[in-house]
């Protein structure tokens, strides 16, 4: 029989009547694939309290601006995100943690390429969630931005789980290279069970100016060790400083999602986790018998 593309693609997209379920041999194949072999069940995620979820899964929270919100799209995205997390273990990490990321690359003989770096930024909501890794290789600073839910991402490994004093570390671009250099063959460091994430209180000394940004004006960044600057440059600071901003309740309220809504969203994550854990426990029992 000749190849009929219409019939082939029709059956590919829509399973035949009576065969809507995914056959079990495909699930087994997927489970045994090398992509799953390096998956490590994150102990912290299993034992984390729901209140911590907003720090562990910040991408599940929607954009605080109401004009950019679409509840149906958000719900569908969350469902897809949880489905992806069943396949790939996306670990808990923060800005300041050291990660190793393996990506599928067709142009490389081994079809995989690995990059190690310090996470300097985390951004995006839903499936657009991304993070930026920085490293200094052969005298050249390199930053790579990865999408968390990119299907070509094969492995995300946390080599060192820690936090820094700031939520973004773009000032490393104006700091000496030693603060951004991480060796590619770095061994992962694990934290003991039940430990809180440590905060690295390091203050980074900056190179002499000119800088990419006027770091002296950023009073919210606590991790910078500012050098001596000319008086003319420091004179304008007193005009820019806004000490009342930390008491501006409505500014904070409009920038964040309210607690009630956060709880609603993370209920789905909790349900998903309990379901997944139950399933995995059953599978473990099956494998033992």
């Amino acid at each position: 029989m000749l190849f009929n593309p219409r019939a082939f693609y029709r059956s590919y997209d829509r399973p035949q009547k009576g065969h809507e379920k995914v056959p079990s041999w495909t699930i087994e194949k997927h489970r045994d694939s090398p992509l799953n072999a390096t998956r490590v069940e994150s102990e912290r995620l299993r034992h984390a309290a729901p209140t911590e979820f907003r720090y562990i899964f910040p991408e599940f929270l929607p954009h605080p601006d109401w004009k950019k919100r679409d509840r149906v799209a958000e719900k569908l995205q969350r469902r897809d995100m949880l489905r992806r997390r069943l396949v790939l273990d996306i670990p808990e990490f923060y800005v300041g943690s050291i990660l190793g990321v393996t990506v599928a690359d067709q142009h490389v003989p081994s079809k995989q390429s690995r990059f190690v770096g310090i996470c300097i930024h985390r951004d995006g909501h839903g499936l657009r969630a991304n993070f930026t890794l920085r490293n200094h290789i052969d005298g050249q600073g390199v930053e790579i931005k990865y999408d968390l839910y990119n299907p070509t991402l094969q492995n995300i490994e946390v080599l060192k789980l820690e936090k820094r004093l700031d939520e973004e570390l773009f000032y490393l671009r104006d700091a000496p290279a030693t603060h951004s250099t991480i060796t590619f063959d770095r061994k992962p460091e694990t934290l003991p069970l039940g430990a809180t994430v440590p905060v690295n209180m390091k203050k980074i000394p900056l190179n002499p100016p000119p800088w990419t940004q006027r770091w002296e004006k950023r009073e919210d960044l606590k991790g910078i060790d500012l050098p001596e600057l000319p008086e003319k440059r420091m004179r304008k600071l007193s005009q820019i400083v806004k000490p009342w901003e930390k008491y501006d309740l409505m500014k904070e309220y409009r920038k964040n999602i309210s607690e009630e809504e956060q709880n609603e969203i993370f209920k789905e994550v909790v349900q998903h986790h309990t379901r997944v854990e139950k399933k995995r426990h059953q599978e473990r029992l099956k494998r033992m018998t």
């Binding site: 004009k67 806004k242 309740l249 309210s258 607690e259």
Partner: protein, 252 residues
């Protein structure tokens, strides 16, 4: 912590506060003054924009105080910033927290004040905390259903509708025939008044006036419903729009 009433998604700049060039510092200072006076007097009149803006801050401040209590450092600092008169910090934690602890709705209410010529040239608003000691802003609703003019009008309305119903040509309709007989019987008992004219074995006669009146009113309403349902058969019903009310317990 969430605001329990509709609020603007963008903040009001309150330009021109304390003269030109004030900027955000002038805005926040003016809002502190409004919040302070609200906490002190529990009912204030000011321009609509100031009142609406300060309302958000007052609500969030009280919510924070309820959630954290008076031993929490950052909350005390916050109260110290917002309340310019420091004796009000004690009032916030000792008077308003117990008052609004269990309150599921907003703690404040706003009213639009009428434009009184010449006025300030701006819309004025009234902002008050619920449970304040002052008399209510809106007058209590007077029940005028027992006034003689309304009683007579209602009776006339009933008679007119009964006439209409009886004259409706639906002789083939079984329900119509049954309802007509039922309703005419009901109308007769209502027209007679209480059951006193009949034998005293009827328990209805032993009821007090109020209960009898309620029963009559109920029968009237059922009558009206039947008439309307038969009239409106085949017609599409329009859903009534509920009035917007803060006390509903609905919030964004």
């Amino acid at each position: 912590m969430s605001l329990r009433y509709p609020y603007k998604m963008s903040y009001r700049k309150l330009r021109g506060t304390f003269g030109p060039g004030g900027g955000p510092l002038a805005r926040i200072t003016r809002l502190r003054m409004v919040v302070t006076s609200l906490i002190r007097h529990e009912r204030i009149e000011t321009t609509w924009n100031k009142a609406a803006e300060a309302r958000d801050y007052a609500e969030l401040l009280i919510q924070r105080a309820i959630k954290n209590g008076d031993k929490h450092g950052p909350t005390m600092e916050l109260a110290d910033f917002w309340l310019l008169e420091k004796d009000l910090i004690h009032k916030l934690f000792k008077v308003f927290v117990p008052r609004f602890e269990k309150c599921p709705t907003a703690f404040t209410k706003m009213y639009r004040l009428p434009y009184v010529y010449p006025g300030k040239g701006r819309e004025m608003g009234l902002l008050e905390l619920k449970g304040n000691p002052w008399p209510p802003v809106l007058p209590e609703a007077i029940d005028k259903s027992k006034h003689i003019n309304n009683v007579l009008l209602n009776a006339a309305r009933q008679d007119f509708r009964m006439e209409q119903y009886k004259s409706m040509d639906m002789s083939s309709d079984r329900w119509h025939k049954e309802s007509v007989s039922q309703m005419s019987a009901a109308m007769d008992t209502v027209a007679k008044g209480s059951g006193l004219e009949e034998t005293v074995t009827d328990t209805e006669s032993l009821l007090s006036d109020e209960i009898r009146e309620e029963k009559e009113a109920q029968e009237m309403r059922e009558l009206q419903r039947k008439i309307d349902s038969l009239k409106n058969r085949g017609k599409k019903k329009h859903r009534d729009e509920d009035d917007d009310d803060d006390d509903d317990g609905t919030y964004v």
